[in-house]
Structure formats: structure tokens, C-alpha cells
């Protein structure tokens, strides 16, 4: 474990240097302990692949005190059982009208669009963390055969529900936002709803699968 002051009000806690499920399990456990017993000075906590950032009230504590609390929690984390994860199944229509970048991705890897779809939908992904926008889950790891860099120029508006890839990651855009990931399909499901519990369709630590649906099924699910 390594600490780093991110700002005068936040502390980064690194639990490893490489993206791996074992490092991420430590991130999840520490997050769980913080959420179970949030200290009174805690303002926010943001997990990521290998780290967590804790934002605190500097009128009440300084970095050193936060560090001491984290060290104690981390000792308890070791005996904690692995947090339970749900499996979330996401229907995706990979039809051309929802997949403006599918052809380009296929061409870049000398594949057919159908191969890209098969490779994308044949894996179970791990939800490493949510960031960027409410409910946006960073899912990994994408098959090497279709790993593609971000667009050089991001789109000004990506439709909600767009299924996208970037590097060895995949994700679903919950809201119509700007975005630089490559769009290969769309789901009719709502990724984030304030009146639902939990609000996010995909939570940190979940296992996520995608399965292909027809445009007809898409319209049917979208109208439900």
C-alpha cells in the first residue's frame, strides 16, 4: 500500500501498480469498509483500477490521520470475505444503425463485423469502477483482438445506451454525453435511474455479459 497526497483535501491510496483482479479485490474491500463505517470527516471516496481517493474535511483531519485510519482498515480488510458480485446481462443491438464505428474497428483488425460482435459478446467482464458520468462503468478486459484506441476527435454527443470500446476496456454510455470511445452497438436498458435501487445498472465489482439482439427486440425492449 502506498499513499500520495492528491490535494490539500484528498489522499490517494494505491493498492497495487498493475490492473489485476487481485488488486481490485483489495480496492473493493477497502471501499466496503469505508462505506460500512464512514468516518465523520469523510467527504467522498472514488475507487479506480488500483487505487482509491479519499476526500476529507481539512478542518477536522490532516493527511497523516487519514493515513492512520486507512492502515487500520486495511488490516481488517485482509480477513474480509470477497464482496459478493452480481451478474448483469445486457442485451445489445449491434446493428449498423446503432454501431457507427463497428466497420472501422473490424477493418483495423482485419476482421468481419460479425467477428467483432462475437468477440465482444463472448466474454464476462469485470466492472472495475464507475466514473466519467453517473452510472458509467469501466469494464475489462476486452479481447486483445479487438482492442482499439479512442477516436482522435471525440463525438460531441453520444446517444444514451451506446455500447463502446477503448483500449482494452468496454462500457455503456448512460447519458447523451460527449465521448471518444468507439461505438459498436446500443442497449435499450436504462443505465442510471435516480428512482431505482440501486440507481446504477452496473455496480463496482459486478460481472457483466453482453448478448446480441435484433433491431426488432431492441424496439420491443425500449418500449417496455
Amino acid at each position: 500500500m502506498r499513499f500520495c497526497k492528491a490535494s490539500d483535501q484528498s489522499l490517494l491510496i494505491y493498492l497495487g501498480d498493475e490492473i489485476s483482479l487481485s488488486t481490485h479485490e483489495r480496492v473493493l474491500k477497502l471501499l466496503q469498509l469505508f462505506q460500512k463505517e464512514p468516518p465523520s470527516w469523510l467527504c467522498n471516496i472514488q475507487p479506480a483500477y488500483c487505487s482509491l481517493m479519499v476526500t476529507f474535511d481539512p478542518c477536522r483531519v490532516a493527511h497523516a490521520e487519514v493515513e492512520a485510519v486507512v492502515r487500520k482498515l486495511e488490516q481488517r480488510a485482509e480477513s474480509l470475505r470477497r464482496p459478493k458480485s452480481r451478474t448483469v446481462d445486457i442485451p445489445v443491438c449491434y446493428d449498423a444503425e446503432f454501431a457507427p464505428d463497428l466497420e472501422d474497428v473490424a477493418r483495423a483488425h482485419q476482421l468481419k463485423p460479425a467477428d467483432v460482435i462475437r468477440l465482444h459478446a463472448s466474454r464476462t467482464y469485470h466492472a472495475y469502477f464507475l466514473g466519467f458520468a453517473p452510472g458509467f462503468a469501466y469494464l475489462g478486459d476486452l479481447a486483445d483482438e479487438i482492442a482499439t484506441p479512442r477516436l482522435d476527435v471525440p463525438r460531441k454527443k453520444v446517444p444514451a445506451g451506446s455500447v463502446a470500446i477503448a483500449g482494452r476496456q468496454t462500457a455503456v454510455y448512460p447519458f447523451p454525453t460527449p465521448g471518444g470511445w468507439r461505438l459498436i452497438g446500443r442497449t435499450p436498458l436504462t443505465l442510471f435511474r435516480a428512482d431505482r435501487k440501486p440507481m446504477e445498472l452496473i455496480s463496482i465489482g459486478d460481472q457483466v455479459r453482453f448478448h446480441s439482439i435484433s433491431p426488432k427486440e431492441f424496439s420491443k425492449l425500449a418500449s417496455e
Binding site: 490539500d8 490492473i19 467522498n44 472514488q46 476526500t55 478542518c59 469502477f129 446504477e200
Partner: protein, 313 residues
């Protein structure tokens, strides 16, 4: 019930309060007023809780009508406000008569002006806050910037409002600055000595591509560490990221919660509200300070903001 009618929204006017911290695990940006100090003072002037929902106007203010009158206060940037045609002051409580028109124009100095209304603005809360987050179209008034014809419902006015204004000493202590103080960022030591020196020596110009998400700064490129991107991690408010092309981006209140660019520095807490007042074309500089100094300044500023006898006259 009192209301406020938007006759003209200005350039970009949104409902803001002190935001919704605490939802990092579900990817939600805290958002909130870009200049939280100006928002708190505006609310206190009209007898509200400091974090009540108010209007944040950007660069050009709007025109508003009070059908049933009400107490209000303006803080932050000077947008040449008039009430029924008469010039009025910033940082001061006013009582608008029924049917009065409050009119603001382009800013004469800083980026944002805050209009607090006695009783606060009533909108459905999203995750405990009225703040508008434009990127996800959540919070505020239907998740969007105000438009002509919108009618905002106001809460119940406090029974007694004592008109006052912010003291000259408090305004001096909280005044905007163009030299922002920073602490080292998490990747500061990965930058070369030359890069770090350049960062505090050179002048940065705030570009037009700046908003509540962040300020894009223009200056000779800062040499980046190698590799120029890293494993995505959480980013803090006020972080200064250096992109692979050497451009600096200062993260604002609507920031993405995570990012993969190295961060050379972070603006200290007491200067964050000053970031919210920087407008395009302004030239700024960064000055390094220690975490201990940053914390002491924050505690001192919070003490002032919680002490009405020092704040108001």
C-alpha cells in the same frame, strides 16, 4: 408561494448549491457552485442557509421578474445589475417590490455572478442536491440551463431579514487572484525539473474552451513524463492535468471523477472559488506552496465564513 420569472436567461444560467459530494462510487461528480464562497455569502445576505439553491450566471447575466417581490442578493462578478432601472450594488441585501425587474448585462470583471433569493429556489433534489450537472442533464431545473419563460418556485421567506452587506475586510480576504497557489500533484515527481520549473514560471492564458468541467490553459507545452498516460485513477477538484501534447487542464466542479493524464499540481482549497471566477483570455500563474500552509489557510477561511460578525456590516 413566491416565484421568479426568467425573462432572459443570459449566456448560461443554472441552479447551483454546494453540490453532491459522496457519490464517487457510482460515478457522480460533486458539481455545485463554481464559486462556492460567493454562493454562501449571497445566501447568508438573504437569511438562507449558506448552501441553499441559487442562480449561477456565466459571463452575461439575465433579466428576472419578481411577480410577488422578495429579498435577493448578488455576489461574484459585476454584471452591471439594475433593479427597475436603478443601479444596485453587489454583496448587499435588496428587497424587490412586486413586479420588479432585475436586469444584468455582460461581466465587467470576473466569470460568474450569483443571485440568491430569500427562501431559496425549490426544485426536486437529485442525490440530495439542487445543483445542475449539464454533462449528465441531472439536477437543477430539468437538468438544464435556464431558458426564457421558465418560472422558478421559491421557498418560504425567513420571517425576518436584516438587510446588510459583506464587510470590506471580508471582501479583501476573499478577493479573486490571478496567481493561484498549488501543492504538488500525485505525479509531480514524474515530470522533469525543467517541466516543473516551467510550470511555475510561465504565464497561462485561459482559453475559450473552458467551462464548469475545466479550464483549458494555453502556454508553451509542458514536457510530459514518459509514458504520457497512466492507469486511470481518481482526480481531485483543482487538479492540473498535463495532456500528451503538453497542454494544461485545470479541473473544475463538473469534472469527470477519474482520468488517465498525469497531474503536475493541484490548486489549494482556498483558491478553488477563485478558479470559478477566471474567464476566458485572462492570464494566470501558479505558485507552489506546502500542504501545511494550504490547510492552515483553509481553516482560517472557514473560520471567517462561519463568523457573521466579521463577514457583514
Amino acid at each position: 408561494m413566491s416565484s421568479l420569472v426568467v425573462k432572459s436567461p443570459g449566456m448560461l444560467t443554472t441552479i447551483q448549491d454546494l453540490g453532491r459530494p459522496g457519490y464517487g462510487p457510482i460515478g457522480v461528480s460533486p458539481a455545485g457552485a463554481a464559486d462556492p464562497v460567493a454562493l454562501r455569502l449571497a445566501n447568508l445576505l438573504v437569511g438562507n442557509q449558506p448552501g441553499a439553491a441559487a442562480l449561477e450566471m456565466t459571463l452575461v447575466g439575465g433579466i428576472f421578474v419578481f411577480p410577488n417581490g422578495g429579498a435577493f442578493a448578488l455576489t461574484g462578478a459585476n454584471m452591471s445589475a439594475t433593479l427597475n432601472g436603478d443601479s444596485i450594488d453587489l454583496w448587499t441585501t435588496y428587497i424587490a417590490p412586486s413586479g420588479a425587474e432585475l436586469s444584468l448585462g455582460p461581466t465587467k470583471d470576473y466569470a460568474r455572478s450569483y443571485l440568491a433569493l430569500s427562501g431559496g429556489i425549490e426544485v426536486p433534489l437529485f442525490l440530495g442536491s439542487a445543483s445542475t450537472h449539464l454533462l449528465s442533464n441531472t439536477g437543477g431545473y430539468e437538468g438544464r440551463a435556464l431558458r426564457k419563460g421558465d418560472v422558478l418556485q421559491l421557498g418560504t421567506m425567513p420571517p425576518k431579514i436584516t438587510p446588510k452587506h459583506v464587510s470590506p475586510s471580508a471582501l479583501f480576504a476573499l478577493k479573486p487572484r490571478k496567481i493561484l497557489r498549488v501543492t504538488d500533484g500525485p505525479q509531480a515527481d514524474q515530470f522533469s525539473v525543467d517541466a516543473r520549473n516551467a510550470f511555475t514560471r510561465q504565464i497561462f492564458r485561459v482559453t475559450e474552451h473552458s467551462d464548469r468541467l475545466g479550464l483549458r490553459l494555453e502556454a508553451p507545452p509542458i514536457p510530459t513524463p514518459s509514458p504520457a498516460t497512466m492507469t486511470t485513477e481518481a482526480v481531485s477538484l483543482g487538479a492540473i492535468q498535463i495532456t500528451p501534447s503538453g497542454q494544461a487542464i485545470l479541473l473544475g466542479v463538473d469534472q469527470q471523477t477519474t482520468g488517465g493524464y498525469p497531474k503536475i499540481a493541484n490548486v489549494i482549497g482556498v483558491d478553488l472559488h477563485r478558479v470559478g471566477q477566471l474567464r476566458p483570455r485572462v492570464e494566470i500563474r501558479f505558485e507552489r506552496t506546502s500542504f501545511a500552509v494550504a490547510r492552515a489557510l483553509w481553516i482560517e477561511q472557514e473560520r471567517l465564513l462561519n463568523n457573521p460578525s466579521q463577514l457583514f456590516v
